[in-house]
């Protein structure tokens, strides 16, 4: 299958289709990605959410923000506040800021999502209100949603054999399942298992790559402002990538059973001591 590769929102993307993408499709895809970055990036001064860091206020977000913020509402509730799109300030305090200073000022809890922000779907936009200065970081589910947006754009234009790969987030459609290796969180030359991905999304979350100091990585409990220590990696299969991405992050803080009360998904969760737990359907996926 022809591949179309590019770099966006801080990661490498590969789109594989049975028929090559047209110039128009590539342009539409580039616009979708650029528009997403322009809306949510905390690394850009001109993003839609940037003014909220300086002062509370109201911003207009695209209509697609509603399902994303709704997912965050649910994950925030189920994780007891650990998953929170306002975790940007905690990451900044730990040194993962827009200037990449990597100078940690210590853990700092993020403002409470439910108390500090509210949103409403209004026609073709989503209106977001904040009551304190906040720094958005939608990393928990945002990349997954962008995978979905790219996938849906190409699906709508007729592509049926299609894989969108954004590094740790994958969405697949087509007659042949993909064989996907689950990368070992402590050794990127190894895998801990292989699973078939067929007409679903698979998202991985691991704490190994974005590290900038002893115990400092990008998966931060917004309730405490501290990086998570016990879970080393989580993989989630779900119908869409946004949900799979959000759940993969939530599994760092939340019992799978709690999440299963409101979401349909399969998972593998690996701990820093080398143990792993997984849902029934994932039996046989891990090497033994």
């Amino acid at each position: 299958m022809p591949d179309f590769s590019f770099e966006a929102i801080g990661t490498a993307w590969t789109v594989s289709t049975a028929a090559p993408l047209t110039v128009q499709e590539r342009a539409a895809l580039a616009e979708a990605v650029e528009s997403y970055d322009r809306t949510y990036s905390r690394f850009r001064q001109d993003s839609a959410i940037a003014p909220l860091a300086a002062a509370p206020g109201t911003v207009d977000l695209p209509v697609t923000a509603a399902p994303l913020l709704s997912l965050f509402d649910t994950l925030h509730r189920l994780s007891g506040g650990a998953v929170n799109p306002l975790v940007g300030s905690s990451l900044e305090k730990l040194g993962y800021d827009a200037a990449y200073s990597f100078a940690s000022a210590g853990p700092s809890p993020a403002p409470d999502w439910a108390a500090s922000a509210s949103w409403q779907a209004l026609g073709d936009r989503t209106v977001l209100n904040t009551s304190v200065p906040v720094t958005f970081d939608i990393g928990a589910a945002g990349k997954g949603q962008l995978v979905d947006l790219v996938f849906e754009l190409l699906h709508a234009s007729g592509h049926r054999e299609l894989t969108v790969d954004a590094g740790s987030d994958l969405r697949h459609s087509g007659p042949r399942p993909l064989r996907v290796a689950l990368e070992h969180p402590y050794d990127t030359t190894r895998a801990v298992g292989v699973l078939p991905l067929h007409n679903r999304a698979l998202c991985a979350s691991a704490s190994n790559r974005r590290q900038w100091g002893d115990g400092l990585h990008h998966i931060v409990d917004a309730g405490t402002g501290r990086p998570v220590e016990t879970v080393a990696a989580a993989w989630v299969l779900a119908d869409d990538a946004m949900t799979a991405d959000g759940l993969a992050t939530a599994l760092f803080f939340t019992d799978p059973g709690t999440l299963a009360e409101e979401f349909a998904f399969d998972y593998v969760r690996m701990f820093s001591d080398g143990r792993a737990t997984f849902s029934d359907a994932m039996a046989g996926v891990l090497f033994s």
């Binding site: 770099e7 929102i9 801080g10 990661t11 690394f43 990449y100 990597f102 990349k143 894989t163 790969d165 954004a166 590094g167 740790s168 987030d169 994958l170 993909l178 064989r179 996907v180 290796a181 689950l182 990368e183 070992h184 969180p185 050794d187 990127t188 030359t189 190894r190 895998a191 801990v192 292989v194 991905l197 698979l202 998202c203 991985a204 979350s205 691991a206 704490s207 190994n208 790559r209 974005r210 900038w212 016990t230 879970v231 990696a233 993989w235 019992d255 799978p256 059973g257 690996m270 701990f271 080398g274 143990r275 792993a276 737990t277 997984f278 029934d280 039996a283 891990l286 090497f287 033994s288």
Partner: protein, 145 residues
């Protein structure tokens, strides 16, 4: 048979409590049906009376907050028919491990070389942006100079 209730006390150093409880020596001598396991055998054998057994254990994790673990199991015909593990979970980390211990399917991870696997894709942590990596490189160089 009326289940009898016996208490075993042991100190545990790790979270392998349930297996310790299942295979542990019944040292209260309350039932003639219990036989001491063969000492030389690594696999404990012997028969235990039907009934409900409970045991309390404690251990000290790195957090230095003592954690209590209560294990209750029911034996019928030398088979464990029910197992209940109650944990104190004083420390959030302990709580998470204990929860994993008491639920879900668990295995020990085994890694295989990626280049020996025939796969289409690899799912792991995302490759990071050039911005992130360049900034880290710059800091490393600064630190080294």
């Amino acid at each position: 048979m009326t289940p009898t209730r016996k208490t075993l006390l042991f100190a545990a150093a790790s979270m392998t409590l349930a297996s310790t409880a299942c295979a542990g020596t019944a040292n209260d001598g309350a039932s003639a049906a219990e036989e001491s396991p063969a000492a030389e055998s690594p696999v404990r054998t012997g028969s235990y009376g039907d009934g409900t057994y409970s045991a309390a254990g404690s251990y000290i994790p790195p957090s230095n907050q003592t954690e209590e673990v209560d294990v209750t199991l029911t034996l019928e015909g030398n088979v464990v028919t029910s197992l209940d593990v109650q944990t104190s979970g004083n420390n959030p980390t302990s709580k998470q491990y204990q929860r994993e211990f008491t639920s879900g399917i668990e295995s020990q991870v085994v890694g295989k070389k990626l280049d020996e696997l025939n796969v289409d894709k690899v799912a792991g942590s995302s490759l990071t942006s050039s911005g992130f990596n360049k900034a880290l490189d710059a800091i490393r160089m600064e630190a080294a100079s």
